[in-house]
Amino acid sequence: MDVLSNLALGFGVALTLKNLAYCFLGVFLGTLIGVLPGIGPLVTIAMLLPITFGLDPVSSLIMLAGIFYGAQYGGSTTAILVNMPGEVSSAVTAIDGYQMARQGRAGPALATAAMASFVGGILSTLIVAFFGPLVGRWALEFGAAEYFSLMLMGLVFSAVLSHGDLVKALAMVVIGLLLGIVGTDVTSGLPRFSFGIPELLDGVGFTVVAVGLFAVSEIVLNLARNEKVEVFAKDVKNLMPTWADMKAAAMPTLRGTALGSFFGALPGITASVAAFSAYMLEKKLAKDPSRFGHGAIEGVAAPEAANNAAAQTHFIPTLTLGIPASAVMALMLGALTMQGIQPGPQVMTSKPELFWGLVASMFVGNVLLLVLNLPLVGLWARLTQVPYRWLFPAILVFACVGNFSLNNSAMDVYLCAAIGVLGYVFAKLDCQPAPLILGYVLGPMLEENLRRALLMSDGSFAVFVTRPISLAFLVVTALILLAMVLPGLRRRRELAVEEAAG
């Protein structure tokens, strides 16, 4: 078989001592920066870019890719341990992961995250290897109408995400939408809510919002609480998940992988959307959805599998179409360009050792990450016993460095602090930050694609139902709505009947 011989070629490249070393370096660095809130793969790869000049293209690509997906592993660590997602895509892992840690199950949570990431990573790399070009061509079918309907489905689905007060969750989604609108409008080119501040013309950055909302506000919250109360991880004896845990996590991991692989292959959709969707799906499918938000292991396994799967399939549009699926991918293509390689669809055929070497290295890298992360679980779990007076200043420093270095802009640090204050207020009002992030991510995409679809169809809404993929999403959205509304109606009717009877 063709793919197998290509993979053999790839492993030949990836398993040389030199490339193994670069792969290890990449995933190790990735894990490390993944753990730190604020410092993400984007900043790291940007900083390492000049160094890769001296390497040969395959090695540099293997290392940079390792940083990218390695960060997806590391991101869950701080999310679980201290409720501060190291990467934006692990924000959703924090919801149940942190609760597990509070119940003294930090070890199983971390191990589950690592194993789910591993499964997600390996399976989706298989997809990249066997179906890459096919999936790539299919992703081309996604235009503005398809994206709009997909986003709409996501936003409707997000009502499921909330635990607690539905009205508060909706309010948070709206605040997220507003936050996402800040900056220059893509369609008209006009600035919105930028108040004449040039730094706001590009909007409020993703990292700025996530770090402010999760890390900074969490630190402030903890300062307000009594430190003793929060040292919950005294018992870190059982590090590995039990057999029952594994069984509970198995299907969510597979479903998360499938969702993650799907979203990752679409240019312009981030790993965080994949993680959110996987979480929402699990909550919807669960027999007892009320466990979510209180330490459900599925709530850790599914999003972690999804974000890592998305990280791997993200390479599909990048490598098979030459279309970078995200800022990090653009950076990697930039690295190739600087090496004198014209990135694009022809790279696969003209430089097979590059494409297949990278794919093979993703298998190797995921194995390395598992080997690296499982033994670290014990070490990380003990991190929760580090007094917060040491831990928090360190995290805050990293958060500032990360925010500053994205654009070399002090404004981002101030903004992050301001959003931290906002996050504190939200927490005091018992409002969940996750719906806000979702609104912030999906809102602008929803709007942009709606307006572009209508611009291209000359104002006709028919475009959403005449295009089959778009129609399919809309039908599913309608079904979800129906499924959400019906039980509620029935319950209300039963209640009414009871009341009438009583």
């Binding site: 790869i45 940007a46 870019l49 000049p50 000049f53 992703a139 081309l140 079918e141 996604f142 235009g143 503005a144 220059t184 893509v186 369609t187 008209s188 080119g189 006009l190 600035p191 004449g196 040039p198 730094e199 013309l201 590009d202 240019p267 312009g268 179409l321 030459g322 279309i323 970078p324 699926a325 800022a327 653009a330 950076l331 990697m332 293509l333 930039g334 690295a335 360009t337 600087m338 004198g340 014209q342 990135p343 694009g344 669809p345 022809q346 654009n407 070399n408 802009s409 942009e448 572009r452 611009l455 291209m456 000359d458």
Partner: protein, 323 residues
């Protein structure tokens, strides 16, 4: 790393001592600390790549320590503003380009810097035409086809661009005016978003930098129907220019050039110009950058001015506003 710095330092000393004693004397010891090259766009993009090629060559051949600092935001104006407000001592350079120096003044009334008063141009380093492309299965095969299609259905053709008020957008508007036709502008957030729609034919045609369209054209997913430079480009000898397609005089390019804050000593500007010109003449750099450039400060200044007038006219006529 340390060894590299040491080697760099030795090379620097050698250069200063022997290579060009006259100039070294004029600005004794320049540069004796790292030189910062502000790139007003994020790492990995076109401007960044060009900047790093130049910075890398200056560092390796002269032993200078040229540090690329990405200061992105507000379409590059943040980076330019930071450079304008830096010390004019020769240790801050900025990679400026068409949109920041020639277009921004007509678009942004509140622009915090004056492209002419606040900067001293050092040299142009790259000039790239734009490419007009269509999806591989599009019936449009030439500019004549494009114009005919637009005339047959005014306003129905969809013109994709990588963003509002980019050079690509303005070029599309400019052509609309020159050819007397009407199409609908569909702005995207960068090339990556636009490409799927153009490749699949959902958008009728696409105007963007040659560099960004090249891989897709090579792979047969896009077809180039014209380039916007005055002459055909070496990479695509078969692709005609817009000018020779029946619109003589039509020219639209994006250029990139290094500038320093106004007030930088003339001797340093001359030194920078001399060294960068040398870098640009190296065969491996020539392969990547260039076009037909005149590299003197005077030519650069003239280009800033003439492009300013050209784009100001287009912006006014198309009624483009950003505030």
């Amino acid at each position: 790393m340390n060894r590299r710095i040491a080697r760099a330092a030795t090379a620097a000393l050698a250069t200063l001592a022997f290579a060009i004693p006259g100039l070294a004397f004029a600005q004794a010891g320049y540069p004796d600390k790292p030189v910062r090259l502000i790139v007003p766009f994020p790492p990995g993009g076109g401007t960044d790549i060009i900047s790093r090629i130049v910075a890398d060559k200056l560092s390796t051949t002269l032993g200078w320590k040229v540090v690329v600092e990405n200061k992105a935001g507000a379409g590059g104006t943040l980076g330019l503003d930071a450079a304008a407000k830096s010390k004019a001592d020769g240790y801050t350079l900025v990679m400026a380009q068409t949109s920041n120096l020639s277009i921004a003044p007509s678009l942004m009334p509140g622009l915090p810097y004056d492209p002419v008063k606040n900067f001293t141009p050092v040299t142009l380093v790259d000039a790239a035409p734009l490419a007009i492309t269509v999806g591989a299965s599009s019936p449009i095969k030439s500019m004549a086809d494009l114009v005919a299609a637009a005339k047959a259905a005014p306003g129905k053709l969809l013109f994709a661009s990588p963003g509002n008020s980019t050079v690509a957008h303005l070029t599309g508007e400019y052509f609309q005016k020159v050819a007397g036709i009407k199409y609908t502008h569909v702005p995207y957030k960068g090339t990556a978003q636009a490409l799927p729609d153009v490749i699949s034919g959902r958008a009728s045609f696409y105007v963007a930098s040659l560099e960004s369209a090249m891989p897709q054209v090579k792979a047969g997913q896009l077809r180039a129907i014209a380039v916007t430079s005055a002459k055909r480009v070496a990479q695509w000898p078969d692709v005609p220019t817009v000018a020779e397609s029946g619109y003589p005089g039509f020219e639209a390019i994006t250029w990139f050039g290094i500038a320093v804050p106004a007030g930088t000593p003339d001797a340093i500007v001359a030194r920078l110009n001399a060294e960068i010109t040398k870098v640009l003449a190296m065969p491996d750099v020539k392969e990547r950058l260039g076009g037909e450039l005149t590299t003197g400060p005077a030519a650069f200044t003239a280009l800033i001015k003439s492009d300013h007038d050209k784009w100001a006219g287009v912006i006014k006529e198309a009624g483009i506003k950003t505030q």
